[in-house]
Subunit: 409 residues, 2 copies
């Protein structure tokens, strides 16, 4: 199951950024599972990684390499997460970097490794190494779509987003931002989701690029949850090749970040739309909070409540379960009698109880669409001083249980 | 579904404590849904209640009455939680106390009201009031079993525990402790679970009784989770009638608490064994923690992980998901390479990776039984300085989703 079945978008190429995809036989034989990405010399790279203490070998190696050299290659395998694999896992992650570096004549620490798939099985490194030349041979700027396929695991469809914008009305020049992502379960990123790769041809120095990445990750990949389980392998990489010749500095940074945010939100939402077993795409909006932390606490408690999620699966406007989740979210001195809740445009709770205007028929109608917004107003202070946060999640269906009872993460 | 289908135990009567059960027609017609309990004059009463900010009207009233007078009656209805019902809910909760007080010639604040069932529907107070005389007429010391039936909602079976012990080897006198509880979903108590009533004929002053209740609730009802959803109506009441004539003071307090704990743990575990859709009874033991808070953080993160719970449902020894949950539990400076995990007696993880001695066959064998212990050793310090905590939970099955998609909490 999945929601909002839009066609895969048109992907603008990013000058200076190539992708090559092949099948190494790690996952199902014949299925693409190895993707190499090449960055032109001088590209800036920013990354955010899982904050799970139990993080995978490739995450450790990618972080080390990113801090010691300017990356030229990213190598990603699916079918095996190389997580919980101890010392051998570190050796295998390094081996993939060494092999690709030798093949392309760069230094080992200019290669960043990424893995996703089953946890705790040894990485079939021989298969991966044997397939590297084929992936390299496929490198091209126009292969975003096949790379989007190549990084998938339990996802039911590839996920991409792409746009071009004109940073300066005085010239015709365009900046391109294009990205792909994967992820479907074990989704509650904490700095980054499963895997995401976004490239732009803007010219951005590394420090500013990292700042931009943190800003937009916090409005996109860090605002989604399928099942509250943070992966061991989360990583999002943002590359600026500079090939457009358009320089980003403080003067046009905000515009750049706003455009980047569009691509990031589209990618993050595409993960939720393809969430394991998802039959609903749910936005949880919390306003009237004293700060961002308490707004997020309420939003995540509601979004992760199994009782709210099963009610959503049943299209049941069960406002009691929503209020019960709000009540246990741990907001200090919460005055429930000030809380109101809307489902899409229907007011279901006011003053902490069922809204006077509410009817079962209106609640049913509000729950019918595939896209549902649960809008919770805490009314904790003067509106101009309060904070609003939005996160995205799925419902909890039989299908989620089936997938995760059958699939070995 | 449910696990560990033991027969309902023999319930020793508690002198000075009577129970009367009837059908008020609030729930399914003909099904018991109203229970009155009578405490002999001079009984001490202790209570712990939900910490959900969105708490039900009867919880508010019960807490008020408990603080202002010595209770003589408890009145419980199922089929309707009287939660999210605003001002009318408070009036209805009070009305049930007023009516029972008039019937029995006590003051209104000597009656504590309890409700459980659907949230957000008005309490059918007329039906409740009309049935009170029948419940009062049924009051008897030997009716624990029918009361245990009368407080159920989605539970598949009644839950009770009872014991007698000899507090002083110099005499033959016995103290009796008997209790019942209900609850199956929306279970993550925070001070108390759905509903629990325990009575003893020991003579205990109120302050000491409250201390005893807090101690044992923290080892029983506050150590269970079905779905991480804390109810709006949780309450556990402990009554000491004093009818045995045996006085509890500091000298024999510890022995009393130890016996009380046996009854409380049995009751709390019976809720988990009857957890919605449960096919496994899972103990999560975390040792080697620096303090109780971090042990519980790890235990609950593992117990509430949808991916761990679905693996348990599939009898899949998926240690990767367990480690991933440990890793995201938020323990500061966790050194994953010191973590080991056992499933029942099988070592599956050592030094943060798959144990050398582990085989798939051993993992399968460990997961086969209905009762599973996940034993996580954090090895965070010298064993004599570290802390161990144990909690109990269920797996996540299709059946859980079905029940909660169909049932209006």
């Amino acid at each position: 199951m999945a929601t909002g079945n839009k066609p895969f978008p048109q992907m603008h190429r990013v000058a200076g950024f190539k992708l090559g995809t092949t099948s190494a036989g790690i996952k199902t034989p014949g299925r693409s599972d190895l993707v190499v990405m090449e960055l032109q010399p001088g590209s800036a790279v920013a990354g955010v990684f899982t904050q799970n203490a139990f993080c995978a070998a490739p995450v450790v190696v990618a972080k080390q390499h990113l801090s010691s050299a300017a990356p030229r290659y990213l190598v990603t395998n699916t079918g095996n997460a190389n997580a919980g694999t101890g010392e051998q896992g570190m050796i295998d992650a390094q081996a993939s970097c060494i092999a690709l570096a030798e093949l392309q004549g760069v230094s080992t620490d200019q290669v960043l490794p990424f893995s996703t798939g089953v946890i705790g099985e040894p990485l079939p490194i021989e298969k991966l190494l044997a397939a590297l030349p084929a992936a390299v041979a496929a490198l091209d700027e126009n292969t975003w779509a096949s790379a989007a396929e190549g990084i998938l695991t339990t996802d039911t469809r590839p996920k991409g987003a792409s746009l071009q914008y004109q940073p300066d009305s005085a010239t015709d020049k365009l900046i391109t931002i294009t990205g792909i992502t994967k992820g479907s379960g074990m989704i509650k990123p904490n700095m980054a989701t499963m895997l995401g790769y976004v490239a732009t041809d803007a010219q951005v120095d590394s420090e500013l690029l990292q700042r931009a990445l943190r800003l937009v990750a916090n409005k996109s990949f860090n605002r989604i949850t399928v099942d509250s389980d943070t992966s061991t392998n989360d990583a999002v990489i943002l590359v600026a090749t500079g090939a457009s010749g358009i320089h980003i500095d403080e003067s046009n940074f905000e515009h750049f970040v706003a455009q980047l945010e569009i691509v990031f939100i589209e990618l993050a939402q595409s993960i939720i739309r393809d969430g394991e077993g998802a039959s609903k795409f749910v936005s949880v909006v919390v306003d009237g909070a004293l700060d961002s932390a308490e707004a997020l606490k309420v939003a995540y408690t509601v979004a992760e409540s199994p009782l709210v999620k099963t009610a959503l699966a049943a299209s049941d406007a069960n406002w009691g379960r929503i209020l019960a989740a709000v009540g246990r979210a741990g907001v200090e001195d919460l005055d429930v009698s000030r809380v109101s809740v809307r489902l899409n445009e229907v007011l279901i709770v006011e003053a902490g109880g069922r809204a006077a205007s509410y009817t079962e028929a209106a609640g049913e109608a509000a729950m019918a669409p595939e896209d549902i917004t649960i809008h919770i107003s805490l009314n904790r202070g003067a509106p101009e001083k309060t904070v609003t946060e939005t996160i995205w999640t799925t419902d909890l269906t039989y299908e989620y249980v089936r997938i995760n009872a059958e699939y070995r993460t």
